[in-house]
């Protein structure tokens, strides 16, 4: 029996989520990393709370970027190791569809989880609660874009020695615009100026990436699996 | 020329001359590196050919 694309999408997404929740500790690790890295900055810099507030958007975003990178490695790795990835590629469903399903599931357990945890971190960094909404919206769009950039990078570096380092080397330069606009949006929200411009730009980056990245990531997988 | 003379570059000598020196280094490195790359590639090709030729001889024995 053949399966339509929408059904295939949900099947793969459900599978990814089931597999992720089977090992809840694995899900918590990037979040804990996020918390730890955020703590490092105030500890290392020994700032007064008021100065910490000025730095907080940048610190928050850098920590979010780095912890997202940690979980990206797992996107294709286990499926590549046991041959499931090749089976999926041969299944006849478009590779772009498969990649979209996997990336969306990945974002739900990493990016969305990060957004949920962000208010806690924000309190630690002395970000006023008036900025929380903007911060969470910007983080949601930013982590989604990052998941897609990471999908391309992960597709290119499956199975390489030191693939982790190479993945960061590839993804971080592409993610720099995200950092700039995401931190700017949060910064403006803290200063209670309109963050609309930065948020629109972030949304544009998000839409641009979500539209084109599936094809790039599928091409990357095709290169690796050949 | 401004009152600083050619080598003084109007007072900006320590910015202007390092820039041109750096450009010279970049040009020189590119030429040297490319020549070295080509020489290494030719050497490897010659070695591969020599190995293939000697293997051919062994098969004839």
């Amino acid at each position: 029996m053949s399966v339509g694309p929408v059904e295939a999408f949900w099947l793969i997404t459900r599978r990814e989520l089931y597999l992720s929740f089977r090992r809840p500790e694995q899900l918590l690790q990037p979040l804990v990393f996020f918390l730890i890295v955020t703590t490092l900055f105030p500890l290392g810099l020994n700032l007064q709370l008021s100065l910490l507030r000025d730095m907080s958007p940048g610190v928050l975003w850098v920590a979010a970027l780095l912890s997202s990178l940690l979980s990206l490695d797992a996107l294709f790795k286990s499926d590549a190791d046991d041959g499931t990835l090749e089976q999926l590629a041969l299944s006849g469903q478009g590779l772009a569809l498969i990649v979209t399903a996997k990336t969306c599931a990945h974002w739900v357990v990493s990016g969305a989880a990060l957004v949920m945890v962000a208010p806690l971190v924000a309190i630690a960094l002395n970000i006023p609660s008036v900025a929380f909404a903007t911060m969470m919206v910007s983080l949601a769009m930013g982590t989604l874009t990052l998941s897609w950039l990471g999908a391309i990078g992960a597709g290119l570096t499956i199975g390489l020695r030191r693939g982790n380092v190479l993945l960061s080397l590839i993804v971080l330069p592409l993610a720099m615009p995200l950092l700039i606009f995401g931190a700017a949006a949060t910064d403006r929200a803290i200063s209670q100026i309109s963050a609309a411009g930065a948020l629109y730009f972030l949304a544009a980056l998000c839409v641009f990436t979500c539209t084109l990245a599936p094809f790039a990531a599928a091409a990357a997988l095709r290169i690796t699996l050949e | 020329m401004t009152g600083g003379g050619f080598w003084e570059m109007g007072g900006y000598a320590r910015y202007v001359w390092p820039c041109f020196a750096l450009a010279a280094v970049v040009f020189a490195w590119n030429l040297w590196s490319a020549r070295r790359y080509l020489a290494a590639a030719r050497l490897r090709a010659r070695r591969a050919l020599a190995m293939a030729a000697s293997e051919g001889d062994e098969h004839q024995l």
């Binding site: 391309i152 690796t224 050949e226 | 202007v16 820039c19 750096l22 970049v26 790359y37 050919l49």
Partner: protein
């Protein structure tokens, strides 16, 4: 007409053409760069605002142009290799990467040295400088990715894809001074209509642009010969080519 295009896909043709063209490119580059440097340093009048410091433009602007031009060339060549499976495309892309990275470093360093007397700082996180720095990281990524693969063909294809994904940065670099309030000055030469720079300053600058393009051609031909040899070691035409 298309036979010319098909010839470009042929390794022996590419190798012999590159070998023949390289000395010509190099000779012409020496003449144009030589004229540009001498005229720019000694004979162009000093700038009304910047004095003699403006002469840095003669190495900074061509360097910056080459950094983006070479990246675009690398991305296009990689795309040709990826889409039409023409190996010579990958050879060109591989040859471009180190050359482009060196010009990016030149642009960043000379820009920094120019920034200190003009803006009072060696660095600023403004859009053009930041996106040029990202370009350098992209070059490093492409070089690292290619060398991480044991299968050279797969490495070629992976770094071609990365180069294509990163080409989005190139229009950002060019238009950053238009889209944002940037410290960096807007385009003086590449505007439609009259360039906003004096003729006596313009000629050596144009000569430097041309000279750097010719120099790139020469170095590309040299590296391309090496890339072709590395990819075609087993082929029969190689025997004749490396005999000398």
């Amino acid at each position: 007409m298309w036979t010319w295009f098909y010839k470009l896909a042929s390794p022996p043709y590419v190798y012999s053409s590159a070998a023949a063209l390289a000395p010509w490119f190099l000779g012409l580059a020496a003449l144009t760069v030589g004229y540009g440097v001498i005229d720019g340093l000694a004979f162009a009048p000093p700038d009304y605002q910047q004095g003699d410091a403006f002469r840095i433009i003669y190495v900074h602007a061509p360097g910056a142009w080459m950094s983006t031009f070479i990246y675009t060339t690398m991305a296009v060549a990689g795309a040709i290799g990826l889409i039409w499976r023409i190996k010579m495309g990958h050879a060109v892309a591989a040859a471009c990467a180190p050359i482009g990275a060196s010009f990016t470093i030149l642009a960043l360093a000379t820009g920094s040295l120019w920034g200190k007397p003009m803006w009072g700082t060696y660095w600023a996180w403004d859009p053009r400088l930041t996106s040029e720095l990202i370009l350098l990281f992209l070059y490093v990524g492409v070089l690292s990715l290619r060398s991480a693969f044991e299968d050279a063909a797969r490495g070629d294809r992976a770094s071609a894809l990365l180069a294509i994904v990163g080409v989005v940065n190139v229009p950002i670099i060019h238009y950053s001074v238009v889209w944002w309030n940037s410290l960096h000055q807007a385009a003086t030469v590449a505007k439609l209509g009259k360039p906003s720079i004096d003729a006596a300053m313009l000629w050596p600058l144009l000569s430097m642009f041309l000279g750097c393009m010719l120099f790139f051609g020469a170095v590309l031909c040299l590296r391309l010969q090496g890339e072709v040899l590395n990819r075609e070691r087993q082929a029969s035409w190689v025997r004749q080519a490396v005999k000398s």
